[in-house]
C-alpha cells in the first residue's frame, strides 16, 4: 500500500470520526429540511399568481424551479467550502503546531505522499458530500414542481469539481499559514469568487465589457467560481426566450457555459496548487 493511500485512509477515518463530521451532518440535514420546506412553500404560495400559468412566453414553473435549484447550488458550494476548509485548514502548519504531524512525517512515506493523501481524502469527502446534497436538492425541487434540471449530472459534477479546487487552495494555504489564518484566507477567496459572480451579473445587466472582462479573469483566477457558473448554466441549458433571459437576470442566474477548456484549466490549477504546496512543504522546518 502506498504512503499516500495509507494517509488518505487515515484522513478519511479522521473526517468521519471527528465531531465536526457529526456537526456538518446535522447542519446539512437542517439545511435540507429548511430547503424542502421553503421550496414547497414557494410553489404553494406562488401558485396563485404565477406558477402553473404562462405569462406571455414565460414558463413560470421552470423559472421558479431554476431559481430554487440555483439557490441549492449556491448553498451547496458554501457548505462544501465550509467542509473543505475544516478538513484541510490545519493539515500542515496547524497539525505541526499541535504536534500531530511530526510523528507521521518522520516515517518513510515522504512529505509529498502525505500531502497527496490528505488531498485525496478531503477531495473524496467533499465530492461525495456535494453529489449527495445536490441530488437531494434536485429531488426536493422535482417533488415540489415535477421539474428536473435540464441536465442532471453536469451541474453536480461542476459543483463537485469546484469543491475540489477549494480543497486544493485550502491545502496550499495550510502549508504557509496557521490554521486560523488559512481559514480566513480561504473564506475570503470564496467571497472574492462570489463578488466576481455578482460583477458578472451586473456586467450582463448593463452590458459593460470592462466589468465582464474583470469578472471573467476573477472566475479564471478562482476557477471554483467558473465551475459554479458552468454548473448553473447547465441547470437551465435548454431554457430559451423570455424564460431563459429572466433566469439569466435572476439572483443565481449569471452563468457561463463551461467546456473542456475550463475543465482542463481547473485540473491544471489544482495540479499547480498541489505542486506549490508540495514544494513549500518539502522546504518547511517542522
Amino acid at each position: 500500500m502506498s504512503g499516500a493511500t495509507i494517509v488518505a485512509g487515515y484522513a478519511l477515518r479522521e473526517s468521519l470520526r471527528r465531531r465536526v463530521f457529526a456537526v456538518v451532518l446535522l447542519l446539512t440535514l437542517l439545511f435540507l429540511g429548511l430547503y424542502a420546506y421553503g421550496t414547497a412553500k414557494v410553489f404553494d404560495e406562488s401558485e396563485s399568481f404565477i406558477v402553473g400559468r404562462n405569462i406571455g412566453t414565460l414558463d413560470t414553473t421552470g423559472f421558479v424551479a431554476a431559481t430554487m435549484l440555483g439557490l441549492g447550488m449556491f448553498a451547496i458550494l458554501f457548505l462544501a467550502t465550509v467542509l473543505a476548509v475544516f478538513l484541510t485548514l490545519g493539515a500542515v502548519r496547524g497539525d505541526a503546531e499541535r504536534g500531530l504531524l511530526q510523528p507521521l512525517v518522520v516515517r518513510p512515506l515522504g512529505r509529498t505522499s502525505m500531502l497527496l493523501g490528505r488531498f485525496a481524502a478531503a477531495a473524496a469527502v467533499c465530492v461525495v458530500y456535494v453529489l449527495l446534497v445536490y441530488s437531494a436538492t434536485t429531488l426536493i425541487v422535482h417533488e415540489a414542481s415535477g421539474r428536473w434540471p435540464d441536465t442532471f449530472v453536469g451541474p453536480g459534477l461542476a459543483l463537485a469539481a469546484g469543491s475540489v479546487v477549494i480543497v486544493a487552495l485550502a491545502l496550499l494555504g495550510s502549508v504557509f499559514l496557521s490554521a486560523t489564518a488559512n481559514g480566513i484566507v480561504t473564506f475570503m477567496l470564496f467571497g472574492a469568487g462570489l463578488v466576481g459572480g455578482l460583477m458578472q451579473s451586473i456586467a450582463d445587466a448593463i452590458g459593460s465589457h470592462s466589468l465582464d472582462r474583470i469578472a471573467h479573469w476573477v472566475s479564471l483566477a478562482l476557477p471554483f467560481e467558473a465551475l459554479y457558473q458552468a454548473g448553473l448554466h447547465a441547470l437551465t441549458a435548454d431554457q430559451t426566450g423570455f424564460t431563459g433571459a429572466l433566469i439569466q437576470l435572476g439572483p443565481f442566474g449569471s452563468s457561463h457555459a463551461g467546456g473542456p477548456l475550463l475543465d482542463l484549466w481547473a485540473a491544471a490549477y489544482v495540479a499547480l496548487a498541489l505542486a506549490v504546496a508540495a514544494w513549500g512543504f518539502a522546504r518547511s522546518d517542522l
Binding site: 500500500m1 495509507i6 470520526r17 500531530l100 510523528p103 512525517v105 518522520v106 518513510p108 515522504g110 522546504r283
Partner: protein, 293 residues
C-alpha cells in the same frame, strides 16, 4: 562499524539566529547517549535534523550511514517528539497500526501487543487517546517510536509527563533496548536520569557542544570526608588513591575512624560548570559522596 547517528560540523541557522554551530556527535549501535543543555541550546534542533524534520544549514548528519531525512534514514529510526499529539479519536491500537503501516512493519497484532505491554498499556489498547492521561499518552508515544524495531531511537524529553514509576519503567526499557543493540539519543532535562542510564553525555550550550564524555569523566573529584570520634574531617585535595594512607595517618595519631566518604561533584554541577550557570545556582556547593567506608 557504521554509527547509528553521525553528525559532523552540523550547522543550523533560523534567520539571524544560529541554533547549531559546528556540532560533532556520534552515537554507536547499542549506545545510550544523553543530550543535555539549557532551553534554546539546540538539543531539539539537533534531534529534528537527525530525523528529517528540520533541514541543516551546513555540515553532515547521517543515520545508519544514510543522509538524515532520506527514506533510508527514516526507515532506521524511531522518534518521540517533545511536543507531540495523537488524534483524540484514535484508539491506542489504531495509533500503532497506523504507524506500522507507515513504517512498513509486518509485525501485525503481535508487535502491537508486545509494544503496549512493554509500556504497560495493554489494558488500555482499546481506549481512545482523548480518554488517556498525559502520562499514558507519553507511554503510547514511546511505543509508537518503537514500531518497526528501529536501530536508532531519538527521544526528546520522553519522561516529562511521567510519574516516578513511569520513569523507572522507561529507564528499564531503555536498558533492555541497549542490550538489543538499539542506539538511543536521549534529550532530557532530568540530569539524574541521564546520569543513571547513559553511557555518554553531550552538553550543548549556545548551539555548541561544550562538554562530552562518560558521566564519570565529567564529574570532578571533591576530596575525602572522614568521620572520626571528634567529628567529620574533610580533606579537599585528597583522592581515592590516598585514602589508605590518610586513614593510617589518622589512626597513628590516635583518631578513631567510623567512616570514609570519597566525594565527587554531581553531573548537575558538571553541567552547570559547562553551561556557565554555576554562579546562578544558590544551592550549589555540596559535593556528593561516591562511596562510604
Amino acid at each position: 562499524m557504521t554509527p547509528a547517528l553521525s553528525v559532523a560540523a552540523l550547522h543550523k541557522r533560523y534567520g539571524r539566529t544560529t541554533a547549531l554551530h559546528d556540532v560533532d556527535l556520534d552515537v554507536a549501535p547499542g549506545e545510550l547517549v544523553g543530550l543535555l543543555g539549557p532551553n534554546g541550546a539546540g538539543k531539539s534542533t539537533l534531534v529534528k535534523i537527525a530525523c528529517g524534520l528540520v533541514r541543516a544549514s551546513g555540515g553532515r548528519a547521517e543515520v545508519c550511514g544514510a543522509p538524515a531525512g532520506s527514506r533510508e534514514a527514516r526507515r532506521a529510526l524511531g522518534y518521540l517528539a517533545e511536543l507531540f499529539r495523537f488524534p483524540g479519536w484514535a484508539r491506542a491500537e489504531e495509533v500503532l497500526a497506523l504507524h506500522q503501516r507507515l513504517a512498513g512493519s509486518d509485525g501485525g497484532a503481535a508487535e502491537r501487543a508486545e509494544l503496549l505491554t512493554l509500556v504497560d498499556l495493554h489494558d488500555a489498547r482499546d481506549r481512545r487517546v482523548e480518554a488517556m492521561s498525559k502520562g499514558m499518552q507519553q507511554r503510547l508515544g514511546i511505543a509508537q517510536a518503537l514500531v518497526g524495531s528501529p536501530r536508532l531511537l531519538l527521544l526528546d524529553e520522553p519522561t516529562s509527563a511521567l510519574d516516578p514509576v513511569g520513569r523507572r519503567m522507561v529507564r528499564g526499557l531503555l536498558e533492555r533496548l541497549r542490550e538489543r543493540g538499539v542506539a538511543v539519543l536521549l534529550n532530557s532535562h532530568l540530569l539524574s536520569e541521564v546520569e543513571l542510564i547513559c553511557d555518554r553525555v553531550a552538553i550543548l550550550a549556545g548551539g555548541r557542544v561544550v562538554a562530552a564524555g562518560r558521566p564519570s569523566e565529567l564529574v570532578h573529584a571533591g576530596g575525602v570526608e572522614v568521620e572520626t570520634a571528634t567529628g567529620v574531617r574533610r580533606f579537599e585535595q585528597a583522592t581515592r588513591a590516598q585514602v589508605p594512607e590518610l586513614v593510617a595517618g589518622l589512626v597513628r595519631n590516635g583518631e578513631q575512624i567510623y567512616g570514609v566518604r570519597i566525594l565527587t561533584s554531581s553531573l548537575e554541577e558538571a553541567y552547570l560548570d559547562a553551561v556557565g550557570g554555576r554562579q546562578e545556582d544558590p544551592a550549589h556547593g555540596t559535593a556528593r559522596a561516591e562511596g562510604a567506608a
